[in-house]
């Protein structure tokens, strides 16, 4: 097991290098730091001095990959590539374009993100499985058919509509919870409630339908027929045998997104004014803060790769047939 994990970590390194090179190319080769400075300072009426000053303040004044004016190792280390991209490997995110410490921001902002994303995932999972089991239990009846149609209808509604509609209905018309904002501690509950409900509801359509397919696939298998032949009740077959086996594909889908929960949801957080990483990213995109976007791209990839690793490990835990070596 340990050897497997070590090997997976080694596999992850070339992928992270690829991600790093890609973002480096996007942010520094396609567009020179001069261009970035010009975008920030305004395209017209900008002096070369102002551009130089902007670049020096943020450390973009160095050569891209090779510094011919330095000596020895500094030829490679005193460059934008080394300072801005290689440093990401040790999670040194540096400073954002407006001078804030990105690492500190991330550590502070991931908790509100998690406070929304985790309940959405768990409650969503529970509701989706419940609905899917119901449809599977009543399969090939009108309940099932209309359930699927309802799922497709729910799926076809834009996520933005759920948020805007939910905010309007619950906060503006009924005044149950505040429209947006955030607080620490127990006070946060009333701010978290609405985003969580909306997150769960918007996921019901796609989730239930997907799980229903998984359940139906399991129900068609031989062991289910055997269980029925033994004389087990349909409920027992469904809950005891089918649910247990269907958990394997469901788990795979869930575990892979677990680490990404820290990243939060872009739209949800910015609509509800939650100071998480999602709204952090959106703000950075709107302010064209390339340093933050670069950091988030890298962080997202790392978390995704961790998610893949966790998935493989979780396989061994739920499915004894799978052995990692």
């Amino acid at each position: 097991m340990m050897a497997y994990i070590a090997r997976r970590i080694l596999y992850a390194i070339p992928i992270l290098i690829g991600v790093n090179l890609l973002t480096f190319a996007l942010f520094f080769v396609v567009n020179k730091p001069d261009d970035m400075a010009r975008v920030h300072l305004g395209v017209k009426h900008v002096t070369p001095q102002a551009i130089e000053k902007w670049k020096t303040e943020r450390g973009y004044d160095k050569p891209l990959v090779f510094n011919s004016s330095a000596d020895g190792a500094a030829q490679f280390t005193d460059t934008i590539f080394f300072r801005k991209s290689v440093s990401l490997f040790v999670f040194d995110f540096g400073r954002s374009d407006d001078g804030r410490d990105i690492g500190l921001d991330i550590r502070e902002r991931m908790w509100p993100s998690l406070a929304i994303a985790l309940p959405v995932l768990l409650i969503g999972l529970l509701t989706n499985i419940t609905f899917a089991l119901l449809m599977a239990f009543f399969r090939a009846t009108y309940i099932d058919v209309w359930g699927v149609v309802l799922c497709v209808v729910l799926m076809s509604i834009s996520g933005l509509f759920y948020i805007i509609g939910g905010q309007y209905l619950i906060s503006k018309l009924l005044h149950i919870v505040p429209v947006s904002g955030y607080d620490t501690g127990l006070q946060a509950f009333k701010f978290i409630l609405l985003p969580v409900v909306i997150g769960v509801v918007s996921g019901i359509g796609a989730g239930s339908r997907w799980y229903r397919t998984i359940f139906l696939e399991e129900i068609g298998k031989d062991y289910v027929r055997t269980a029925r032949a033994k004389g087990l009740s349909e409920l027992r077959v469904l809950f005891y045998h089918v649910l247990k086996n269907a958990m394997i594909p469901i788990l795979t889908g869930v575990v892979v997104v677990l680490p990404l929960l820290f990243m939060g949801s872009l739209i949800m957080e910015s609509f509800f004014g939650i100071p998480g990483l999602g709204s952090y990213t959106i703000d950075a995109i709107n302010a064209q803060d390339f340093a933050v976007v670069r950091a988030m791209v890298f962080l997202g990839s790392v978390l995704y790769i961790i998610g893949l690793m966790l998935t493989d490990i979780s396989y061994t835990l739920v499915d004894p047939r799978v052995r990692l070596g």
Partner: protein
């Protein structure tokens, strides 16, 4: 009339896509095993209804893709700006623009509610006796023909609606008769027998459902056409533009994103996926590495990064783009490419897996033993056997991409702000949420148009998947 045709890059690709679909259709016609699943799709009532809706959207999108520039003389001297040497206006119009010219031209001052004859905001107006009052001023165009909007409006709308329904009923009856006549001749039965079969839903293709859906669309279309000449049926937005016109224009953007993204990514996904599975070894390692790397970056962030870079490029190289439309179109195309890059990995992985399975099949081993070349094996034996996966994923992706556009525009990395799109409509209207009473019509229009398209696409793709997926077919 004299005009200068303009083919924007996305137009070109749309027509390429159209040709591809036609070639594919002709190819399928000749192959019985390919026709069988399509016949199943054709028999489905759900698919028939969804297809009618999708075709309506496609028609509007296509009309909006025929671009040209009108001569300046026609547009009036006002458009003559300094520096325009050509005799053509710099404004790129589409056929839809010309057809909906009244909608485009009738711009109010600011917000107005659907069917309203008044502006949404109060303004100070001077009376004849010199006193000033705060009133809702009358609109310049919406409901202009009414003397006393409060009392006449409901009756006027009712009469116009009744006329619209009557017109569409006439057209519909004509179409029904024509269809029944055509089918009767083809199947060599009498006209009345055919009509009875259609009405009872006894035809193999569910013509009854097709006609019913067509009737609903026809009524809505005629009603909208008749009433939008008198009122702003979906209101106006902040700068007074007709929301119905915007929603119509957004259809093309939605369709372009949903289809061109797939068209752009398909060659890579298919070629690389099959190559990885077929050749294995080093090729497989490299291709797997590429798609794992790409898929490990969260999609929205990669898109954001790429679009930000493009924005910087456009800002710094304004000289490369002649017209605003060209710049907006380039951004739309680029968005499709980026979306394609983030979404090809899933299909590629599926194809690799399927090819790995296929290459161990006896017929492929036999072909290899006979010394058939690799490219021929891939073309003749592997490609046709993975086509169902490609088709299913293309159809399934469509609706997701249409929905993604709205989200991306909200994040600020979607289409150009000057492009009409549902995302931009929602984004613009979102800022007015806090207004009281709320400005709801832009939001609702965008959501309803988007919902109809996505729902139709989802229903259609479900039927296609059920018909083509061999795993589902067995059950």
């Amino acid at each position: 009339m004299d005009f200068l045709p303009v083919v924007l890059p996305t137009d070109g690709l749309i027509f390429l896509l159209l040709v591809t679909v036609m070639v594919f259709a002709v190819y399928v016609r000749g192959k019985e095993h390919l026709r069988a699943p399509w016949r199943e799709v054709k028999r489905s009532r759900m698919a028939a209804a969804a297809l009618v809706v999708l075709l309506t959207y496609a028609l509007i999108g296509l009309l909006d893709s025929l671009h040209f520039r009108l001569p300046l003389a026609d547009n009036g001297a006002a458009k003559m700006e300094a520096g325009t040497e050509t005799e053509y206006s710099t404004e790129v119009l589409s056929l839809l623009d010309v057809m909906a010219a009244p909608l485009r031209a009738r711009v109010e001052k600011t917000y107005s509610a659907p069917f309203s004859a008044y502006l949404f905001a109060r303004e100070t107006e001077q009376r004849a006796d010199g006193t000033e009052v705060r009133v809702f001023p009358r609109l310049k165009y919406g409901g202009r023909h009414l003397q006393d909007p409060e009392n006449e409006r409901a009756a006027d709308i009712l009469v116009a609606s009744a006329r619209a329904v009557a017109i569409s009923l006439l057209i519909w009856l004509g179409v029904c008769a024509a269809l029944a006549g055509l089918l009767a001749r083809r199947e060599r039965v009498s006209f009345s027998t055919m009509l009875r079969r259609i009405l009872r839903g006894e035809t193999e293709t569910p013509w009854r459902v097709v006609l019913l859906t067509f009737f609903i669309i026809l009524v809505v279309a005629v009603w909208a056409a008749v009433l939008s000449l008198k009122y702003h049926i979906l209101g106006t937005d902040k700068v007074g533009q007709d929301v119905f016109y915007q929603a119509l224009k957004s259809i093309r953007t939605g369709l372009v994103i949903g289809t061109l993204t797939t068209l752009v990514m398909l060659p890579f996904a298919v070629l690389l996926g099959i190559m990885a599975g077929y050749f294995r070894g080093v090729a497989d390692d490299i291709i797997q590495y590429v798609y794992t790397t790409l898929s490990s970056i969260p999609g929205v962030l990669l898109i954001a990064a790429a679009i930000l870079s493009l924005q910087v490029y456009i800002t710094n190289h304004p000289e490369q783009f002649d017209t605003l439309a060209e710049r907006a179109d380039l951004r739309l195309l680029f968005l499709c490419v980026i979306l394609g890059i983030t979404s090809w990995t899933g299909l590629c992985r599926l194809l690799r897996g399927e090819t790995l399975k296929l290459r161990e099949m006896e017929y492929i081993q036999a072909a290899q033993a006979f010394g058939v070349g690799h490219s021929k094996i891939i073309r003749r034996h592997i490609l046709p056997n993975v086509m169902h996966i490609v088709l299913i994923s293309v159809v399934l992706d469509f609706s997701g991409l249409v929905l993604a556009e709205a989200v991306l525009s909200y994040v600020g990395v979607g289409v150009d702000p000057s492009t009409h799109s549902w995302g931009n409509m929602i984004n613009g209207a979102r800022l007015e949420m806090a207004r009281d009473p709320m400005v709801w019509w832009s939001l609702c229009a965008a959501f309803v148009f988007m919902f109809t398209l996505v729902l139709a696409a989802n229903l259609f793709s479900d039927v296609v998947r059920d018909a083509f997926d061999p795993r589902l077919r067995k059950q």
